[in-house]
Amino acid sequence: MRLINIKPSRMTQLLLALLPFVLLVVAYGIGSAARLAANPSDKLLPALGAITDAVNRLAFLPDPRTGEYTLWSDTLASLGRLFAALGISTAIALVVGMLVGMIPYLRALLAPFLAAISMVPPLALLPILFIALGLGETSKITLIVIGVAPIMIRDLVLRVLELPREMIVKAETLGGTSWQIGLRVVLPQILPRLITSLRLQLGPAWLFLIAAEAISADSGLGYRIFLVRRYLSMDVIFPYVIWITLLAVLTNLLLDWLRIRIFPWSELGKGT
C-alpha cells in the first residue's frame, strides 16, 4: 500500500500526537542528568525535580516579601494587558475592516494607508510609546494594539471583499440598505473570520507583550522571565515559558470552540 494511503487509527493518532512531547521531556531529562553529573551546581538545565520545586514555590506559596502568589499575580497582570489589547484591537478591526471593505470611498481613502501602516515594525515604535505614554499600562497595551490591529483590519477587509458579489446583489434585490446589508449579511459572515484572525494574532500579541514587559514593568510573565534571567534561574524560566505556551494554546482552542458554538454554519461549508 502507498504511504499516502496508510492512515493511523484514533488510538495510534493519540499516541503519535503525544510522542514528540514525551521525547522532548526525555531528551531534556537526559541532557540535564548528563550536565548535572559533570557539574552538580550547573544552572543551565536544572533537574526536573528542581523545576517542580520552583513551580511549587512560585505558584502555591506566598512570596515572603509581598505576600502574593507570584505566578498567579504575574499571570493576572499579563493576561489583563493582553486581553485589554486584543479586545481593543478586535473592536477597531471590526469597525474599520467592515467600513473599508464595504464602502468604496473609504477603501480608496484608507486601504493604501493601512497597507503602509501595517508594515511599520511595532517594536521600533516602543521607545516613542514609552516617551509619549509613559511607562505604565497604556504604552504596553498600545504597543500590542499597534502590532496586531492593522493586520486584523486588512484580513477583515479581504474577507469582506471575498464575499461573493452575487450575495450582496441578492441582498440589494431584497430591499436591503447599506446599513442593513452590513448588519445582517456582511457582519455575521465575517465574525467567524474575525475570531480566526484573532487566533492567528495571539502569537504576535504575546511577542509584543513580553517585549514590553521585558523593558519596563513591575509584574507580568515577561517581566519575571527577564528578572530571573540575571540569576540564570532556568528553573523559573522554563516553567514560565511552558505556562505562557499553555495559556496561548488554551486561548486558541477556546476561541475556535466559541466560533463553532456561536456560528455553527461556519463549520458546515468546509470541505464542500
Binding site: 431584497l174 446599513w179 442593513q180 454554519w265
Partner: protein
C-alpha cells in the same frame, strides 16, 4: 413591460453589447441564449442594475431603471444566491425583515409571526417543508436553488431574473425544478428573464427565446464589435401565464420524460388521438 432601447455596453475599449433593443411584455418568460462570452449575462446585469449601459436606456413600466439593484427585480444566480449564515427560514424571512425594520432589520412579535407564516407558505410552495431550520450547506444544489427562488419571491418582484439558475443541477433534479418554475411563473404575477446555455431548457420553459450573437467574431474584430440580438423566437404552441390549458403549460413532456399518448401536447398530428 421592460423596454430596452438601443443599449450598448463597453468595458474600456472592449464593446460587449451593441444596438440591443428589446421589448418584453408583462408576464412573459424570456430565455436569453447564445454562445459563451456573447454578453447574455452582461445583459442580465444591465436589467438587474448591477451594471449600467454605456449608451441607451432601459425602462421598467415606463420609468428609467434605477442605477442599482432594487426589490422590484428579484434574482437567482447559479451560485451564492442564498446566505450561508441563515437557516432556510431565515433566508426567506430576510427580505421581510429588511422592508419592515429599517434600523435593526429584525422583526418581533405579531409582525414576525405573520412574516414566518408567509415564509412557511412559500417554503412549502417550493417544496422545502421540513428543512426550515437547516443551513444552506446542509441542502443539495437543487434545494438551494428552490430556496433562492422562495427568497426572491417573498418580495413579490415585478421581474425575476435568472442567471443560469439550473445549470449546475443533475438532469432529474433539473426537470423537477422546471416543473416548479413553470408553476411559479403561471401562478404569480411575474415577468421572467432567464439566461441559459441549454437550448432545451430555453424551449421547455420560455414563451420567447432571444439569441445573442457576435456578428463579427474574427480575433481582430472581437474587441471592436459587440454582440447583438440575432434571433427572437416565440415558442410554439404559445404559452400564456395564468391561462391556457394547464396540462399543456405545466405538464408538457420534456425530451427525457414519457411522451403524452394523446392530446394537444402531441406535435405530430399524423397520429390521430
Amino acid at each position: 413591460m421592460i423596454e430596452v432601447d438601443n443599449v450598448w455596453k463597453e468595458y474600456g475599449d472592449q464593446i460587449v453589447l451593441e444596438r440591443v433593443s428589446l421589448t418584453i411584455a408583462d408576464r412573459a418568460f424570456v430565455a436569453l441564449v447564445g454562445p459563451s462570452g456573447c454578453g447574455k449575462t452582461t445583459f442580465l446585469k444591465l436589467l438587474l442594475g448591477d451594471e449600467r449601459p454605456s449608451q441607451g436606456t432601459i425602462r421598467l413600466d415606463g420609468k428609467l431603471l434605477a442605477p442599482e439593484p432594487g426589490p422590484d427585480r428579484g434574482v437567482v444566480f447559479q451560485r451564492y444566491s442564498v446566505f450561508p449564515h441563515l437557516t432556510v427560514l431565515g433566508n426567506v424571512l430576510l427580505g421581510k425583515e429588511f422592508s419592515a425594520s429599517r434600523i435593526a432589520a429584525r422583526l418581533g412579535g405579531a409582525t414576525r409571526r405573520a412574516a414566518i407564516e408567509e415564509a412557511r407558505a412559500l417554503i412549502a410552495e417550493v417544496g422545502l417543508t421540513g428543512s426550515e431550520e437547516k443551513y444552506p450547506a446542509q441542502l443539495s444544489g437543487g434545494m438551494q436553488q428552490r430556496l433562492a427562488l422562495a427568497q426572491a419571491l417573498i418580495m413579490k418582484p415585478r421581474v425575476l431574473l435568472l442567471d443560469e439558475p439550473f445549470g449546475a443541477l443533475d438532469p432529474g433534479i433539473r426537470a423537477d425544478i422546471h416543473v416548479l418554475m413553470k408553476r411559479l411563473w403561471n401562478e404569480t404575477n411575474l415577468t421572467v428573464v432567464m439566461v441559459t446555455h441549454d437550448m432545451r431548457e430555453a424551449f421547455t420553459l420560455a414563451t420567447r427565446v432571444v439569441a445573442f450573437e457576435r456578428p463579427r467574431n474574427a480575433p481582430a474584430e472581437r474587441d471592436r464589435y459587440g454582440a447583438s440580438l440575432s434571433q427572437d423566437i416565440s415558442v410554439w404552441p404559445p404559452r400564456v401565464a395564468g391561462g391556457g390549458d394547464p396540462d399543456t403549460l405545466t405538464l408538457s413532456p420534456d425530451r427525457d420524460d414519457p411522451i403524452h399518448p394523446t392530446g394537444p401536447s402531441r406535435d405530430d398530428p399524423a397520429h390521430p388521438a
